[in-house]
Amino acid sequence: MGEDVKELARRYGYRPYMVGRYLEILGDLKEVEELLEAFEKALRPSIRCNKLKLADCRELIERLEKMGFLLERIGWCSEAYEVLREPEKPSLGSTHEHLIGLYYLYRGKASLIPPITLKPGERDEVLDMAAAPGGKTTHMAQIMRNKGLIVALEPDEGRLRVLRNNVERLGVKNTVLLRLDGREAGKVFRKTFTKALLDAPCTGEGIIMLDPSRKTKTSLEDLVKHHEIQKELLRSALDSLKGGGRILYTTCSIAPEENELVLNEVIKGRDDVRVLSLETPVKLSPPVTEYYGIRVDERIRYCGRTYPHVHGMEGFFICLMELK
């Protein structure tokens, strides 16, 4: 590891191995510094107007603006708004409008991309593999206009309660919540779903601006542990799909170990999985195709990434696959 990498890690307070990897991903020290600098900047929160409870989002915007919020519509998601200014009181999480489910609050806007990209329809049967706290579940329900079916899994009881609160608060009624580890889904729901969303539990290496403790808390062992679980989850998700079914794999991490390398190991040798070109609402950066000498499967070139220094949002990985 070069001295320049160690120096950057020291200056920004990271474990040196992390910064070394960022250089391997981006290939340019100046860009690595831009990335680290972007992780220092706070993100603007965003809200999604809940069309399951509101016929016209203007009612919500008027109510919030009257309280002193300044909102700007996000061009690529007509129901979502970036919050440019907040009054001292109330906070976005404590307004009456939030409590009665007129909107869902996001800490950053990248979470809006996966449901839009998966495009669940009113006749789809969708599996949400690791659903809590429910931002993506409730967004999919909104896109599906409360029709069709979502089975949302969450193994942790406390998080399941939060998920249920959000599902109820937002008036979702096309969803079944189940306390189940997503790794069991392939057995319990073999060849059942037309679509699946796997927002895999991860190290959160794309949301360091929201939780700076992530600069140092992930050891290489933790990373390997996440990688193994993510592979199991993805295999389980594929088993739960009907032929022709689609799965969107996403993480809030920029670590190739949690993204391209997971896909690489799962789809390697499987000719029944196609990776589809992404039709995302924002233009994504390309995936990592070579990493420390590992050339990943050709199909992975269709996946995409967001970076804080490029897109002004959290770092996400997104990949859409279809089971033949």
């Binding site: 079916l149 249920r164 609160n165 079944v176 189940l178 306390r179 059942t192």
Partner: protein
Amino acid sequence: MLNGAKVRCRKTALQEIAGSLPPHISEYLRREYAEATILSCEGRFTEIFVLSEELAKVVEKIIAQGLTPYSAGLYLGRLRKGKPSFIPSINILQEIYQGTGEVVNALVVAEEGLKPFLYGGDVLRKSVVSCRQPVRKGDVVAVLGTDMRVYGLGISKIDGCEELEKRKDLDEVASNLFDVGWYIRGEARKERKYKA
């Protein structure tokens, strides 16, 4: 789990539970959800859900494998053996009020009264701007804001709207049973103390 460790869910019929529901809710269900499946989950208490055909099929599959859904479809509310016999969900009440345009069995509360209510406070006489019959002492009453949205549920301390006239400003007219603040506060729900 929220509803205790040993929960059993089974399909039931609307007529089986209709007797425990307030008339405006059972009538609405007969009209709007005649074809729907009713799911009853009995644990520490009995929770009732309304399922579409697609949901009913997958719930059947889940139950057949010895698993229990944590919640499903439209949460209708909680059945109890004692009084009140049914605690409706916020969503079913909002749906009925919006769908029928008729607000019944409710107290409409001014903004100043809504704030403390959303932190678990009770409804005081001075904050009630209108009362919609039928309202009976000891029964569940919906608590609405002036925007006509449901913010929670109370247990009525008054027997009929006309009784409001006899109450002083600071008299409690409904005790807080559930408010939408619970969704965010993330605490165990207050209805827990109302055992089945």
